[in-house]
């Protein structure tokens, strides 16, 4: 199918990549369908709305910069997107990129969980108060490096 994307204009995306977000993303509740695209720049991905070409979120795998990240959300939130096996679950954080890109941050308080089998997704709300809406990616990456030394 042809998809109008914010980062790449119109591109061809496999129909089977459509992901249903029955509850939308907080603040964008009216948008229910997305596709997950690789970004031209690793380690990012795009979550592109199919309903509104102007709405696309940059995603990152939280484990890239926080190896200790564990998804702690209510079972119900996972059941609502039909997650039966944790293996089917993809977990991302939405990235906010301000003008000064060095201050890019990831939201670990509202992780995006996708069921790769059922092709459903949602923004969950983590129950662990240690995870905030703004984790500065470069800062945390530097710490990962330090730990490795």
């Amino acid at each position: 199918m042809q998809v109008n994307t914010k980062p790449y204009g119109t591109i061809e995306v496999d129909e089977r990549q459509k992901i249903h977000f029955p509850f939308g993303i907080l603040g964008f509740e009216h948008l229910k369908w997305y596709v997950l695209l690789d970004a031209s720049q690793a380690p990012f991905y795009w979550l592109q709305s199919l309903d509104d070409p102007d709405v696309a979120f940059v995603l990152i795998d939280p484990l890239v910069f926080r190896r200790d990240f564990i998804l702690e959300v209510s079972e119900e939130e996972l059941q609502e997107i039909e997650i039966e096996d944790k293996e089917d679950m993809l977990v991302f954080a939405i990235v906010t990129i301000p003008e000064n890109q060095e201050l890019m941050s990831a939201n670990l308080q509202g992780p995006v969980v996708i069921n790769r089998k059922a092709k459903t997704g949602r923004q969950a709300i983590t129950l662990n108060p240690n995870w905030k809406v703004k984790h500065f990616i470069l800062e945390e990456l530097a710490q990962v490096k330090d730990e490795a030394c």
């Binding site: 995306v13 496999d14 089977r16 907080l26 690789d38 380690p43 990012f44 906010t96 308080q109 703004k134």
Partner: protein, 99 residues
Amino acid sequence: MLILSRKVDESIIIGDDVFVSIVDIKGDQVKLGIQAPKDVKVYRQEVYEAIQSENVAAAQAGTVLPVIKRFAGKKGNPKGSRPGDRPSADSSPNDLIDK
């Protein structure tokens, strides 16, 4: 706004199936017990609002993504994975969606 006075162990009912009880009061902190059907989401308001406004900020970003040094040169495939692509050990999550 409806304002009700309640003591510890007293509760209120909202609609037919949401029960809010006062579990404990200590200083300026009130502990609430909430019993609601599974489809009724209960969040702390500030958490909900923080996530919402962070999402709005995230959606406003441009399409030029930052380069993180250790990932420089690793290019993704904008069109996403294709049917038949299978996740491999070191590949990142866009082989992700099952076909």
